[in-house]
Amino acid sequence: MKKLVEFFAASAAIVLLTLVPARAAEDTLQVVKQRGYVKCGVSQGLPGFSNPDDKGNWNGIDVDLCRAVAAAVFGTDEKVKFTPLSAKERFTALQSGEVDLLARNTTWSMHRDTALGVDFTGVNYYDGQGFMVRADLGIASTKELDGASLCTNLGTTTELNAADYFRTHNMQYEIVAFEKADEAVSAYNTGRCDAYTTDQSALYAQRLKLTDPKAHIVLPQIISKEPLGPVVRQGDDQWGDIVRWSHNAMLNAEELGVSSSNVETMKTSSNPAVKRLLGLDGSFGANMGISNDWAYHIIRTVGNYAETFERNVGKNTPLGIARGVNALWRDGGLQYAPPIR
């Protein structure tokens, strides 16, 4: 069934690219407004990033970004529909117009940015590739993995990173790449591999699915830079701006101390930066073709970056990830948004 869906998606993409007459860059914002909702490509289920709960509601840090874009365009975060995509399908789905944006824990790399006709609009999570191993192996470092079998997901940057890392350190390895993360984790769990490797955040998430999470440890080292961020089609700069600034608005809100709980009282703030953020001053929304209180709706419905981080992946969630490099720049992290000015 899965194969069939994939086949139809690929065929549809090819047919679209084949039959649709060449046309100028489309106006995604106009299309989205007419349709009445945003179509957002997400993962097939990665706790903390994009995962459906038992009622079928999606949540996660990537899902929140989709909601933020919907709030910016429509004033409500509910006008968004999610399309689960495999790593293999994601860019084709975006290129062919099947989704308006990807928020699918996707690594920003130069090749993807320049050769696939897509643009990355920012980084909503700084990640790196790591390894999970059985605790009883007694391994403390990735340097001790010489000769190991590695289970991973097909069609991601991990295969390449692992190859580069093991070769530069003169170590041997065997890569076993599965199309779906579930099968990769099961194979690791049954002992097919010594380590499961993918982005470190996903390791924490997948560890929750194991029969005995405590019997496995995530090694502290990371072997690559994996800046994960939203992706839009190249050539529609207005839509790219909306997605970019939806994320930036959440960062600026955290920096200015504006959150979903105090956004109403903040409207009376005398701080000009807050006034500009909430659309009480300037015409920043109108410049992007949406209403001026776009950021107000994002903060009101989704919250600022700290809220979405803590709600989905933070200390008090099952994932229990510290802010670390994802803290604001002034707290020693990498999250830095240009000012709204």
Partner: protein, 387 residues
């Protein structure tokens, strides 16, 4: 007059056909140009230049030399060979098993025929993907870790990383053994023919295996005297996490081969049964009247005639098995869909070109299989006509 009219009509037909062909060619040309144009406008790379770029990723099973520095062309070859390996072996195993099941299904022994029936109904009616998963995780779960591997005389080791076997690499002088093998094969063919001619002439069954064994021993001893031991054996040994040295049959391969063979065998069994039942009862009675035993009647009279009915649908099953092998991607067997239309596709991002190449590969494989089976079909049909 009439001949002139016919000429004109045929001229008109030819013209119409030519026009249609031109339209089709133009249409395809327009589609291709439009794709290229659209890709260009969307700033998506196109063309086949990527085949020469460095692939950079590792593959768990390679039948030819491959490492991360090789290009995507080599990835294509590695994937293709892995697909071929599992398909060809799958076809052989499925044919053998299916043949016996089909005969067993018609057996007069109640138990055998019921066992065959139950087998066929189970394997034919459960989706193949589930069977692949079942065998993969079923096989994996029951195997020990490398440190507790099942040891076969310190030569072979079975664990959940696969079956580690000693490998043989040939050195100078191996050619003598190749010649020896050639000599043994020609001797076998010659002896067989001699036995057949003598059988036709005198009705006597002539010894075949004993002289062949004698020839083999002599030839092999001669080769050993001339060339000594021109090979090196590499025995796997546990080092760190895994066995190193030798060759390893990976569990993904075993599971896929098992699932494909068992699944397709069920279909082949039904085809064989239909073929055998299509042979007229009178043929069997005639064979019995000539004094042929049940088994000899089956192998000399019934099966050769049933092949004419069996071969065409059997070809379809072979094609199905080859195409079904693309389900390998679910259990990480590095076939062409997994490494080329999977990893390479996501790294390069040129879906149209890569899917096109992959489709062409399957098309060519299928056409070749059909062609070979049709050749065989024509040969057995000819025998029938001469009789």
């Amino acid at each position: 007059m009439i001949s002139k009219l016919a000429f004109l009509v045929s001229r008109r037909d030819a013209l119409l056909q030519l026009l249609t062909l031109a339209l089709v060619v133009a249409g395809v040309g327009w589609l291709i140009a439009n794709v290229a144009d659209n890709l260009d406008r969307q700033n998506i790379s196109s063309g086949f230049g990527f085949l020469n770029e460095r692939a950079g990723f590792g593959i768990s099973q390679t039948l030819v030399d491959y490492n991360e520095d090789d290009n995507y062309r080599q990835v294509l070859i590695v994937g293709l060979l892995n697909t071929l390996l599992v398909s060809v072996l799958g076809i052989i195993f499925a044919s053998i098993l299916g043949f016996f099941l089909g005969i067993g299904r018609l057996s007069r022994n109640w138990l055998i025929s019921k066992i065959a029936m139950v087998y066929i109904e189970i394997f034919r009616n459960v989706p193949l993907l589930l069977q692949i998963m079942f065998w993969y995780f079923g096989v994996l779960r029951n195997l020990p870790s490398p440190r507790q591997a099942i040891n076969f005389g310190d030569l072979m080791f079975l664990s959940n990383r696969g079956f580690a076997l000693p490998s043989v690499s040939f050195t100078e002088g191996a050619g003598f053994y190749g010649l020896a093998l050639l000599a043994i094969i020609s001797a076998a063919i010659g002896l067989r023919r001699r036995a057949h001619i003598l059988f036709l002439a005198t009705g006597q069954m002539v010894a075949f295996w004993r002289p062949l064994g004698l020839v083999s021993v002599v030839v092999l001893l001669l080769a050993a005297y001339l060339a000594g031991v021109p090979w090196q054996v590499d025995i796997p040994a546990l080092r760190g996490f895994n066995f190193r040295g030798g060759i390893t049959v990976i569990p993904e391969f075993v599971a896929l081969l098992l699932a494909l063979s068992l699944y397709t065998a069920a279909f082949i069994a039904e085809i064989v049964r239909a073929g055998i039942m299509s042979v007229d009862q009178g043929q069997r009675e005639a064979a019995a009247a000539l004094g042929l035993s049940h088994n000899r009647a089956l192998s000399l009279v019934v099966i050769p005639q049933s092949l004419r009915v069996i071969i065409p649908p059997l070809t379809s099953q072979y094609l199905n098995l080859t195409k079904n092998s693309s389900l390998a991607v679910a259990i990480a067997y590095p076939d062409i869909v997994s490494v080329f239309a999977g990893t390479a596709l996501t790294q390069v991002g040129q879906a149209i070109e890569i899917i096109f190449i992959t489709m062409m590969v399957y098309l060519i494989l299928s056409l070749l299989t059909s062609w070979a089976m049709n050749q065989y079909n024509a040969r057995i049909a000819l025998v029938e006509k001469n009789q």
